[in-house]
C-alpha cells in the first residue's frame, strides 16, 4: 500500500521548479545580500553609531602605521648613507690597498667601496684644518690609506646584516689596522623602530578584537530582535545556513563600511597635518612629504575589516544557533 502513496510524494513539485541548485544558491545569496543591506538602514542611528565605533577602532592602528612608515622614509633619506671606515696599516702601499679593495668588493655585505689614498686624505686634512705649513714640515705622510665602505644597509632593509660580525671579519684582514663603524645611530634607530612596529602590531590586534566584539554584539542584538522571525522561518523549512546568511552579510557590511569610514577619518587627519609638516620639512631643507594610504593598503584595510565583521557575525550567530537547537 505504501507504493502508490510513494509515487504521489516522489515528484518534487515543492521544489523550485526549473531552478537548479546553483541558481537557487545564487538567488538565496542575492536575497540575503539585498535584505541585509536594507536591514542595515532600518535603524540608521544605531547603525551609524556602530559604524563610527568600528571606524575609530580601525583608524587608530592605521594612523600609527602611517606615522611609522613616514618616520622610516624620513630616516631613509639618501643623504645620510651610513659608512664604515677601514684604516689600513702604514706599511700598505697604494697598489696593495687597491688590490685589497678589489678583493673585498665581492663581499655581499658591501654596497659600495672606495679607496681613499693617504694623499687624498692629506689634501682633505690640509683643506679642513689649514695646517698647510705645519704639514709641509713633515717628511712623510703619517696618514694611512683608508677604504670607505657603504654597507648594504637600509632602514627597512630585508638584507639584514650583522654589523658586528662584518666588522670583525674586516679586522681579520692582515692589511687592516682598524675599523670604524659610523652606523651605530642607524642601528639604534632601527631598534627603536622595530619596537614601535611591535607596538603598532599589538595595538592593531587589540583594536581588531574590538571591531570583532562590536560587530558581534551588534549582530547579537539584531538576532535578539529577530528571534520570532528566526522561529517562523525555521518552521517553514529554513536551514541554519539560510538563517545565518543575512547576519553574515550584515557583519560584512559593518566591517566594510566601518573600514571605509576609518579611511575617511585617516585622510582627513592627513589633510590636517600636511601643511605644518611641509613647513617643518622646509625648515630642515628637506623635500619630505607625508605619504598617505596607497591603493594596496586601502584594499588591505577594507579586506581586513570585512573579514573581522564576518567573523564577529559568525561567532554571534553560531552561538545563537547552537544554543537554540
Amino acid at each position: 500500500m505504501a507504493t502508490p502513496v510513494n509515487k504521489k510524494v516522489a515528484p518534487p513539485r515543492n521544489r523550485a521548479s526549473g531552478d537548479n541548485p546553483l541558481s537557487a544558491w545564487f538567488n538565496q545569496q542575492s536575497n540575503a545580500f539585498r535584505f541585509s543591506m536594507e536591514r542595515l538602514w532600518f535603524n540608521p542611528m544605531s547603525t551609524w553609531i556602530t559604524l563610527t565605533a568600528i571606524a575609530i577602532a580601525l583608524s587608530l592602528p592605521t594612523s600609527l602605521h602611517l606615522l611609522l612608515k613616514n618616520l622610516q622614509t624620513l630616516t631613509a633619506d639618501k643623504r645620510e648613507v651610513p659608512t664604515i671606515t677601514v684604516f689600513l696599516k702604514q706599511s700598505i702601499s697604494e697598489q696593495q690597498a687597491k688590490d685589497l679593495a678589489e678583493l673585498m668588493s665581492n663581499q655581499p655585505e658591501i654596497e659600495q667601496l672606495r679607496v681613499f689614498t693617504r694623499d687624498e686624505a692629506m689634501q682633505e686634512f690640509r683643506k679642513i684644518t689649514g695646517f698647510g705649513e705645519t704639514l709641509d714640515t713633515l717628511t712623510e705622510n703619517p696618514l694611512p690609506h683608508t677604504l670607505i665602505i657603504t654597507p648594504r644597509l637600509r632602514l627597512l632593509g630585508d638584507m639584514d646584516i650583522d654589523m658586528d660580525a662584518f666588522s670583525n671579519k674586516l679586522k681579520k684582514y692582515p692589511e687592516v689596522d682598524d675599523v670604524q663603524l659610523d652606523v651605530e645611530w642607524i642601528l639604534r634607530l632601527r631598534a627603536i623602530l622595530s619596537i614601535a612596529e611591535r607596538i603598532v602590531l599589538v595595538v592593531s590586534v587589540l583594536l581588531g578584537l574590538t571591531v570583532l566584539l562590536v560587530v558581534g554584539n551588534t549582530i547579537r542584538l539584531d538576532i535578539e530582535n529577530r528571534k520570532d522571525e528566526i522561529r517562523v522561518t525555521r518552521l517553514i523549512g529554513a536551514t541554519n545556513s539560510y538563517i545565518r546568511r543575512p547576519f553574515l552579510f550584515g557583519g560584512i557590511w559593518f566591517g566594510l563600511f566601518g573600514g571605509i569610514l576609518s579611511l575617511v577619518i585617516v585622510h582627513a587627519a592627513l589633510l590636517f597635518l600636511i601643511k605644518p609638516v611641509g613647513e617643518l620639512a622646509s625648515l630642515y631643507g628637506s623635500t619630505f612629504t607625508l605619504s598617505g594610504v596607497d591603493v594596496l593598503m586601502t584594499l588591505q584595510i577594507l579586506l581586513a575589516s570585512s573579514l573581522l565583521g564576518v567573523i564577529g557575525a559568525w561567532l554571534a550567530v553560531g552561538r545563537y544557533l547552537w544554543r537554540d537547537e
Binding site: 504521489k8 515543492n14 544558491w25 545564487f26 525555521r234 523549512g237
Partner: protein
C-alpha cells in the same frame, strides 16, 4: 500517506498528550481532528511537522519513518509541509508579499517565479492587491488568510492547520474551510485540528476524535 503507529507523546513536564495513537491517512485525504482542548490535537500535528518527536512509536510519511530523519534533513522535509497556526505568526516588519514569499525565498526561487506564485496565492485567498500592505493594517481574518497563502505558496503535499478559524467569525471560518477544500481537491493531504463541531460537521469529511488521556 500519513501513518501513526502506536504513537505516544509525553512532555518533559510529565503531561501525557497522546497515548497509543494508530491512524492512517490516504494521500489526498482531508480529515478533521477534534476533541477537547488538551486532548492532543496540536501535538498530533506537531509530530507530523517534526516540531515534536514522539516518546514512543513512529510516524510514517509516504512509508518513511520520521524517526529516521536527521536534524539536517528537517528543513528540507518541512518545505513539503504547509503549517497554519491559530496565530498566523506573520512577520510584522514585512509586507504581505514578503511574508508570503518567505518559503519561496528559502527554497531559493528566482524573483520572477516568486512574483508569479505569490500573486497566484494571493488570488486564491482573495487578497489580490494587498501585497504592499503591512500585516498590522489587516483584520484578523485577512492575517489568517496571509498565513494560509504562505503555507500554500510552496505547493506542499501535506497541509496542517491548527485551529485555523479559532479567532474568526463563522462566515469567515466557513470561507477559510472552503479554501482548504480547494487545496485538497488539487491533491494535497489536509489535516485540520478544530474544536468547532458545527463547522466540522458541515464539511462532511472524515473526523477523528481524540479523547483526553487520563494519566
Amino acid at each position: 500517506m500519513i501513518e501513526f503507529k502506536q504513537v505516544s507523546k509525553k512532555y518533559p513536564t510529565g503531561q501525557l498528550a497522546l497515548y497509543n495513537v494508530n491512524l492512517t491517512l490516504e494521500a489526498g485525504e482531508m480529515v478533521f481532528i477534534t476533541g477537547h482542548s488538551g486532548a492532543g490535537k496540536s501535538t498530533l500535528l506537531k509530530l507530523v511537522a517534526l516540531l515534536e518527536r514522539p516518546s514512543k512509536g513512529e510516524v510514517l510519511i509516504g512509508g518513511r519513518s520520521l524517526n529516521k530523519l536527521g536534524r539536517s534533513q528537517i528543513p528540507n522535509y518541512r518545505r513539503r509541509i504547509g503549517f497554519i497556526f491559530q496565530d498566523p505568526h506573520l512577520l510584522y516588519d514585512r509586507t504581505v508579499f514578503d511574508n508570503i514569499a518567505l518559503p519561496l525565498r528559502i527554497a531559493g526561487m528566482s524573483h520572477n517565479e516568486i512574483r508569479r506564485r505569490v500573486q497566484a496565492a494571493l488570488d486564491k485567498v482573495g487578497l489580490t492587491g494587498r501585497e504592499k500592505t503591512f500585516p498590522l493594517m489587516l483584520s484578523a481574518g485577512e492575517k489568517q488568510r496571509v498565513g494560509i497563502a504562505r503555507a500554500m505558496v510552496n505547493k506542499p503535499t501535506i497541509i496542517l492547520a491548527d485551529e485555523p478559524t479559532g479567532n474568526l467569525d463563522p462566515e469567515l471560518a466557513q470561507d477559510i474551510m472552503f479554501t482548504f477544500t480547494q487545496f485538497n481537491e488539487l491533491g494535497a493531504t489536509v489535516m485540520i485540528a478544530s474544536h468547532d463541531h458545527g463547522l466540522v460537521e458541515r464539511m462532511k469529511k472524515r473526523t477523528i476524535v481524540l479523547q483526553k488521556v487520563d494519566s
